[in-house]
């Protein structure tokens, strides 16, 4: 395959970026999208005469669709044209010979560009730190069947937990909203008894952090669901909305007046 690539190049977060055009030849249609970029970088190394070599930076790690590191906005869609896949699971057979492919980084205020196609997604970690956890139990290994959980709830929690936190929802959303990510992370705990202990604070803390970081609001366009590589449903957003409301109206903090029964 012969390809023309238009790739966003940016030195660092503060630098002004630009698109650079690259030509590639002899790309196998069995090649994965990231392998194609590896070949391009290899070519850049071989062609470059002076050091340091300026290769194209892009995020990747497991390359089997489960880590959520890869994050490319290909021809106007996060993770490229295929549905329910990450970039690393995208193959060149989904493109035609002679195609021009435009590759951009995720675009969102809270996701600043680190270099080229790499963005800083620390914002997601901060949201998780705000409430996306359960209290740690110490002691012996608990029995797996000690806490009964309704099968349907376990399935829904598992579906929500499938979110790999790649940020495609933010990239796809016209408002750069992180609602689907936060909703998935809230849902996976809200559905399970283990998550009930922090439930009163969790959703409010995570939403407050999300707002503080400058993500946009949800306008129920559902582009996030359509572009999510893990097919996370917007039902989770509705669940988060319910959870937020019900936790707000049922929260009754007893006044702490010091001292216990002892």
């Amino acid at each position: 395959m012969k390809l023309t690539l238009k790739i966003w190049r940016q030195e660092n977060a503060k630098a002004k970026g630009r698109f650079e055009t690259y030509q590639l030849d002899n790309i196998s249609s069995d090649c994965s999208f990231l392998e194609m970029l590896d070949i391009l970088n290899e070519q850049l190394v071989n062609d470059q005469v002076k050091l340091p070599v300026d290769t194209i930076s892009f995020d990747h790690d497991c390359r089997e669709g489960i880590c959520g590191m890869c994050s490319l906005y290909i021809n106007g869609r996060p993770h490229g044209p295929e549905q329910g896949t990450t970039v690393c699971q995208l193959h060149m057979r989904h493109f035609k010979d002679g195609d021009t492919i435009t590759i951009e980084p995720w675009r969102a205020g809270p996701f600043p560009v680190v270099k080229d196609l790499m963005v800083d997604r620390l914002a997601f970690d901060k949201i998780i730190q705000a409430g996306g956890f359960t209290s740690v139990s110490t002691g012996g290994v608990p029995d797996a069947n000690a806490i009964p959980i309704r099968k349907e709830d376990a399935d829904l929690a598992m579906d929500a937990a499938a979110c790999i936190g790649c940020g495609a929802c933010v990239a796809a959303c016209k408002n750069a909203s992180a609602m689907l990510f936060v909703a998935a992370k809230v849902s996976q705990f809200a559905l399970l008894p283990q998550g009930k202990i922090e439930a009163k604070e969790r959703v409010h803390a995570m939403v407050a952090k999300m707002d503080e970081l400058g993500f946009g609001n949800c306008s129920n366009t559902y582009a996030c669901e359509a572009e999510c590589p893990k097919n996370i449903s917007v039902e989770n957003i509705a669940r988060m909305n319910r959870e937020y409301f019900s936790q707000a109206v049922t929260k009754a903090d007893r006044k702490q007046n010091g001292g216990g029964a002892g």
Binding site: N75, G109, T221, Y244, F245
Partner: protein
């Protein structure tokens, strides 16, 4: 905290948007129901219309609801603008190539624009009717206006006798229709009312509602244009 933030979380703003929106949605049905009596659908349609207008402008409960309605509308408009500004701020650098996903609906993307259309319509609407009722504006002159007497029926007839007004009315109401199409199901989602069985039903009802309301309102200028 951002400047535009009024100390309401993103979700709280959405609840207020949804509640106010649903209230406005229900109000439109009442308004349309009365408006349709401008058309000769029954022998005494003019009397029924006059009775309805009298009820709506004198009943104490409706007076209270009027305050709720204006408050709800203003809240909905202000929050809508705040949310939109935040949304635009959330992506300082845009994409070069942006493809519409399969779920793309122009109605969702243009909520702020159709919202502004509705706002413009309401300014015209208020100048034509409400301000006249309150005595803040002179009743419009025309063939249907009897001197010193300005009932809503004749004021409406007077306005609809102008083809320019009819066409403007149709265009602006179309904006309302597009707004409603997205608004209906969106309000339920914002309130957390999403269910695998009922959500598709809500979406269908929302489409039927927006089409019926739009064509209901438009039928009046169409009648005066063509009949």
């Amino acid at each position: 905290m951002r400047k535009t933030d009024v100390k309401l979380s993103s979700l709280s703003k959405k609840y207020f948007m949804a509640f106010a929106g649903l209230f406005l949605i229900s109000f439109l049905v009442v308004h349309l129901g009365i408006n349709l009596f401008i058309l000769p659908i029954t022998a005494d349609h003019e009397l029924i219309f006059a009775d309805a207008v009298h009820f709506m402008s004198t009943n104490p409960l409706i007076k209270v609801m009027e305050v709720v309605l204006f408050g709800g509308f203003i809240l909905h408009a202000i929050l809508g603008v705040i949310l939109q500004l935040q949304n635009w701020n959330a992506r300082p650098v845009g994409y070069k190539v942006s493809q519409k996903s399969q779920v793309y609906s122009p109605f969702t993307r243009f909520m702020i624009h159709t919202g502004i259309i509705i706002f413009v319509f309401l300014i015209i609407h208020f100048m034509n009717f409400y301000f006249v009722k309150m005595g803040w504006a002179e009743p419009p002159q025309g063939a249907h206006i009897v001197e010193g007497q300005h009932d809503f029926y004749n004021m409406a007839l007077n306005l609809f006798s102008s083809p320019f007004y009819c066409i403007l009315y149709i265009v602006l109401i179309m904006g309302l229709g597009f707004h409603l199409h997205h608004a209906f199901q969106s309000a339920f989602q914002s309130l957390g009312l999403n269910h695998p069985t009922y959500t598709p039903v809500i979406k269908v009802i929302g489409t039927i509602y927006s089409v019926l309301v739009t064509f209901g309102f438009i039928s009046i200028p169409l009648y005066f244009l063509f009949v």
